[in-house]
């Protein structure tokens, strides 16, 4: 699915002076899919329709991301995002949802599970930020206020395309996916918003949660691309130890964007986690060829320290 078709499916909810765009597919127990940075809900476009055969699948763009409110007038920290999502879920009458969070979305999901537990019936963290594993060096570079002046949208677009292609995926995603993931940030407003999103990335927002992860009382699945060099799987192991009863599944031949590298494996694990049969014959969008590796990878290496 191309990104414009995904955008066309988006609905919108006003939350006070802000607004949030989201895709709402299917019927059944609710599944909320959260994206990370520098992407938007479109990152789940390969899986959403398949999951919607048995569930109501909701895919919001976080505030400041995608086609939600991108004005330069609010705080985009993980905690605030969780508060906005709580208000959004309240508006839609969502409780006890399976909340699946990738990357920064995983941080938001952790906040939801700890601070707004009635929203979360099951929790799934996918190559998620946690502890002091983030922000990554590239995002820290982008996350300085002066970046809006130093960098043009075109230049940032080129840099991020390079980063996603060469570090994010084990297999080349379908044509147009990487461009689609970055499409909302190709304008000047988009660039400013992305920089503000990056400015809001702060280790403290997950560090403050760490002592409370033991209070997460819902079934938890941790899905990790075995080859994820941005947020390495060792962080998944640590989460599995801290969250009571959490199960870690490391997906082989997959990097950070595990939902594109191994969509069948991810879908299968999610259906199993929900105690549902995997729909027969369902095809999930996936990449194909192995991408070229280049020296430029060095630039995008995770600079996260090893867990203590």
């Amino acid at each position: 699915m191309n990104w414009r078709a995904w955008q066309r499916m988006q609905d919108v909810v006003e939350l006070g002076d802000r607004f949030l765009s989201y895709v709402d597919l299917g019927d059944g127990p609710p599944v909320v899919l959260l994206h990370g940075i520098p992407t938007w809900g479109y990152v789940w476009s390969g899986l959403a329709a398949g999951l919607a055969t048995t569930n109501r699948v909701l895919v919001p763009d976080l505030l400041g991301y995608g086609f939600s409110d991108k004005r330069d007038v609010f705080d985009r920290s993980v905690g605030r995002q969780a508060e906005a999502l709580d208000a959004w879920m309240d508006r839609l009458g969502l409780v006890d949802a399976l909340v699946v969070g990738h990357d920064v979305g995983g941080g938001v999901a952790q906040h939801l599970a700890v601070r707004f537990p009635r929203r979360v019936g099951r929790l799934c963290l996918v190559d998620s930020i946690c502890y002091d594993a983030w922000p990554l060096s590239l995002m820290s570079l982008l996350g300085t206020p002066s970046a809006t002046r130093r960098l043009s949208p075109e230049r940032v677009g080129r840099l991020l395309r390079l980063a996603l292609r060469w570090k994010g995926f084990e297999t080349a995603p379908p044509d147009g996916v990487v461009e689609g993931l970055l499409a909302p940030y190709a304008t000047e407003v988009g660039l400013v918003s992305l920089v503000r999103d990056a400015v809001a990335l702060d280790t403290n927002q997950t560090r403050e949660l760490a002592p409370r992860l033991g209070h997460v009382s819902v079934p938890t699945l941790l899905l990790w691309g075995e080859e994820d060099a941005l947020l390495p799987a060792r962080y998944g192991e640590r989460l599995a130890w801290d969250i009571p009863g959490a199960r870690l599944v490391q997906v082989p031949d997959a990097r950070h964007f595990v939902m594109w590298d191994a969509p069948h494996a991810v879908a299968t694990e999610l259906f199993r986690f929900m105690e549902l049969e995997v729909p027969v014959g369902r095809v999930f969008e996936a990449g194909t060829a192995r991408p070229r590796r280049v020296e430029a990878e060095l630039l995008f290496d995770s600079d996260a320290p090893a867990p203590a």
Partner: protein, 299 residues
């Protein structure tokens, strides 16, 4: 007319950056539009223009004049056929929300810009502009964009999509220089909607009634500009003395004034095509300013 460079908000530095900030806050909008960005290519003129016009722009009288101009624009198009672009374009709910926000933003901004351009053009041509009010005698409007006003988000000036580039080129050919107007750059975020709008505006813009409406609006713009509350102290001599090319500034301002009535009419047709749009911008609250602040601010 040669292409004039636009100074984007990202590129603006020094005094231009300061004026951009004051413009956004005073005009109560979320961005700086094309007309102002092209003026900013002449930075010393741009700062002088703002010093001359700023005191008027932040008054209730200016807001009412802009709303009066917009009301006249809507009146001028009463009884015209509805464009039908809104229903024709295949947009989702979120896309419609965004597009509606953009139309509301330009509905609030474009009449203000039109008044400013008309005032500057008259002043540069040596006509007296403004009524010579005194500081502290005119009610001012609070600063800052409305909390729900849409971001001024534009598709790139040189889009990778060849179809969109062709559309841009046709728009500039039809509406005139100095560049693709901001509202069209914003609507280009949904190319199919912009195409639907533009293909329907084409025949309308060739109509005699359209020419009459734009001429009538030009007269209204000039009249309202002459009635601004404070004198606009700007002239060709002043622009030359600042070291700017006064002829180039005048040519640019002429071109802007030439096309703005048409842009207003087009905007009115787009707005009337959308069923649930906010038809009038919410008026700003009064801003109470002590006399000594008013005197200091009135440069």
């Amino acid at each position: 007319m040669a292409r004039v460079r636009q100074v984007s908000e990202r590129e603006a530095t020094g005094a231009v950056e300061r004026v951009y900030h004051e413009l956004r806050r005073t005009m109560r909008v979320t961005g700086v539009d094309v007309s102002l960005r092209t003026w900013a290519a002449f930075p010393r003129f741009f700062v002088a223009m703002w010093e001359a016009l700023g005191p008027s722009v932040e008054t209730r009288a200016f807001e009412e004049s802009a709303q009066g101009l917009w009301a006249r624009t809507l009146e001028a198009t009463v009884g015209w056929e509805v464009l039908g672009a809104w229903n024709a374009a295949d947009l989702g709910p979120s896309q419609r929300f965004h597009a509606r926000g953009i139309l509301e933003l330009y509905e609030a901004m474009q009449p203000r810009v039109a008044l400013m351009v008309a005032a500057v053009r008259l002043a540069l041509r040596g006509e007296p502009v403004g009524r010579g009010g005194r500081s502290g005698t005119v009610e001012r409007v609070e600063r800052g964009a409305l909390p729900r006003m849409a971001a001024m988000e534009w598709a790139p000036e040189r889009p990778p999509d060849a179809r969109l580039r062709a559309l841009y080129s046709d728009i500039v050919k039809r509406v005139g220089h100095p560049g693709v107007p901001g509202e069209y750059r914003a609507l280009a975020c949904w190319p199919e909607y912009l195409e639907a709008v533009w293909s329907r505006l084409g025949p309308v813009m060739r109509d005699e009634a359209y020419a009459r409406a734009t001429e009538g609006l030009r007269a209204v713009m000039r009249q309202k500009a002459r009635d601004l509350p404070f004198e606009v102290a700007l002239s060709r001599q002043r622009v030359t003395s600042l070291g700017e090319d006064a002829d180039a500034v005048l040519r640019l301002t002429d071109a802007l004034e030439e096309r703005l009535p048409g842009l207003l009419v087009n905007l009115a047709l787009m707005v009337q095509d959308v069923p649930d749009i906010l038809r009038q911008p919410i008026p700003g609250a009064a801003r109470l300013v002590p006399d000594w602040v008013a005197a200091k601010e009135l440069r």
